[in-house]
Symmetry: C2
Subunit: 405 residues, 2 copies
């Protein structure tokens, strides 16, 4: 069950002027399931995104990059679940092109003004006919106050929907930022994650928007992992309609970036809290490193270790496994005698071994919580990094040994 995460309250999800959302049951993989989402954008909206670095990236990822580069102004996004359209070769590219062309016809825009997204099983042909047949239903459903249903329509193995809104005052205008994300397994984003969409009614010019979405991704989606598997379909999109009247410039950029990063971080953390089989949410803070690379190497070694993750699942303070992970992380000149390991506020290890003050019952007490912080103080520099992950349970195996069938 999701760790300290509940379904968003529909009334707290604020519409973003210039953005309308419509959903449909297209029957892509299962009947009677909301599996198609169309997002329509007002003219003049800017859109930027970051995508997976997986070399087997999905056809819709390739096409979305192509359409963004065409710079004709994006008027719609279309998302299907139930099929990733990845590892589908030329046939998959054709299916993605057909999806965009058919939606463009219905909305009266050019195919290059539509961005496609898919999530689900890899290496199966996309049933593009079902998607096209579902489009009129999604369009009939288009409305601004539809984020709650939209967040549900993009779920796959997710247990709860993930969406959040924030508001900020900029230049005397109230700016709204609303975002949603999906993802639960195959989560180790590298550039972005499994489908995140954030929209604002501020006006943000294209080059700045791209910088802001990259910055937000680096501090949020690029700092989470569930199982270390980088998806073929990761995408994080940032949409700016300008309808609030607030225009983001050098002066207001910091305040705007802060709220976008906050929304992205909450959405990214929600994915980990709803990680497949998760029973614990673990924050890993690596402090006092020489650079961000080594802090992240150590953080991810801990976060990806099946032995560390199963110990958290068992609430067993078998914390030597964390030392082992720090040791094999690949920081070849690491001096293990000067680092310190804390579990929340409990000093666990120093001087190359267990701290004299450490008592098993203190470790046990922290391990029984469902929100835990692992803090590694390297004492070799001034750089810090924070990652978020979850534990590894029977249910992870169960979900992934039966997902497809």
């Amino acid at each position: 069950m999701p760790v300290n995460l509940s379904t968003p309250v529909a009334a707290q999800l604020l519409p973003v002027a210039g953005v309308s959302l419509g959903i449909a049951e297209a029957g892509i993989k299962y009947p009677d399931r909301k599996d198609l989402l169309v997002i329509r954008l007002d003219e003049g909206t800017t859109v930027a995104g970051v995508f997976t670095t997986n070399r087997f990236c999905a056809a819709p990822v390739t096409l979305a990059r192509e359409h963004l580069a065409a710079s004709k102004g994006i008027r719609a996004l279309v998302v299907n679940t139930g099929n990733a359209n990845a590892g589908t070769g030329e046939q998959g590219m054709n299916a993605a092109r057909t999806t965009c062309a058919e939606l463009a016809k219905l909305l009266g825009c050019a195919p290059e003004q539509v961005l496609p997204y898919s999530t689900g099983v890899i290496m199966e042909p996309l049933p593009v006919g079902k998607i096209v047949a579902g489009m009129p239903h999604a369009i009939a459903d288009l409305k601004a106050d539809n984020w709650f249903d939209a967040a549900h329509a993009i779920m796959t193995t997710d247990i709860v929907a993930k969406a959040v809104s924030r508001q900020v005052q900029i230049g005397g205008k109230t700016v709204t930022v609303t975002g949603m994300s999906k993802g639960s397994g195959m989560i180790h984003p590298n550039m972005a994650t499994m489908l995140g969409y954030i929209a604002t009614d501020a006006a943000i010019p294209q080059p700045l928007l791209q910088q802001m979405v990259s910055e937000a991704a680096n501090r949020s989606f690029n700092c989470i992992t569930v199982d270390g598997d980088t998806s073929t379909n990761d995408a994080l999109m940032l949409i700016a309609t300008g309808r609030s009247g607030a225009v983001i410039d050098a002066a207001s950029r910091v305040a705007m970036q802060a709220v976008i990063t906050e929304v992205a971080t909450l959405l990214a953390q929600a994915i980990v809290r709803d990680g497949e089989g998760a029973t614990k949410f673990i924050t890993i803070q690596v402090e006092g490193g020489k650079d961000e690379t080594e802090c992240k190497m150590i953080g991810y070694a801990i976060a990806h270790s099946p032995l560390v993750k199963t110990a958290f699942f068992a609430s067993d303070p078998n914390l030597g496994r964390i030392l082992a992970a720090i040791g094999y992380a690949g920081v070849t000149d690491l001096d293990v005698d000067v680092l310190k390991l804390y579990l929340d506020d409990v000093l666990v290890a120093e001087s190359g071994g267990r701290a004299a003050s450490y008592r098993e019952e203190d470790g046990q007490r922290v391990m029984q919580q469902n929100d835990i912080t692992v803090r590694v103080v390297l004492n070799r520099g001034a750089v810090n990094a924070t990652l978020w992950t979850c534990d590894f349970s029977y249910d992870y195996v169960k979900i992934n040994a039966s997902y497809r069938s």
Copy 2:
């Protein structure tokens, strides 16, 4: 249960002249369990080894390196289970020194002529008193024909003991090679693995012996992974007593290396077949790469992916997960349109997607086997690499959520 692996037949494990082994129940962690092994070597024996690259390497690893460097001639090895003496700081170094000094006293040699090894829980103090008290019992048990019991004495979460013998004719002499290993979890050796010992009665000079053990490790223990966790205590030792009368030189080196590598490979594969919770043994062949590094990057990405491993556990040909792992392996200029993926002899993917000839029932048939080969043909060079791994089951989680308690 171990995959196509049974307990060695005691009568097939050949003594190596110049090597005697004795075991004892020292009560290190549990009562009534063989947990202490002493290996005594005749004078003139050469010994070489490779050890973990984990920065949190165990005290006995540090001390074994120190004693090998002292070059006084090794006369004994001592191995305990139940405690890894890793992450134990200065106290751990003292405990390892005491172990060597006390055994040296009993055997009439110098402490620097003893090599110590420990395996078990990390970050708990080594009960050195129990080990010292057990030594006289192990010494009383010393005999050449004792490899079967010795292989049992070094087990931890292993289900079956791992040992094998081979003979080869060199210069008219019969040369025997007998080896044993232990390990089941925290298996992703990097330089060597969790305790492997191979002895031969050939005479092999020290510098050549070191080259031969490195070569054998690179083709065997360094090509396996169970969970991607590199242990703090990995060690592979090669012992040459010279008692067969065969002297290894440049001419006979190739034949000798072949049999040592064969024994090392069988022992390494046995660790994977007995991997924690394993139900499948998976060979990953990556062919046609530019260099070994990229072949291993792709092989390990597949071998470490929890999604791939759980699909094997389920016998579910959800093979898009393998494509995803190939794609995120980190080979940034990989052209996915020219590679081919095979499952045993079944062509699964080519031209960036599912092969036209692929039929689900063929994939299903191979997935139901318990020995499976994944073959990735990169078509970008002439280098190949082979790795071995196992699947990821409920029992892996069960074993590691309860190992310590």
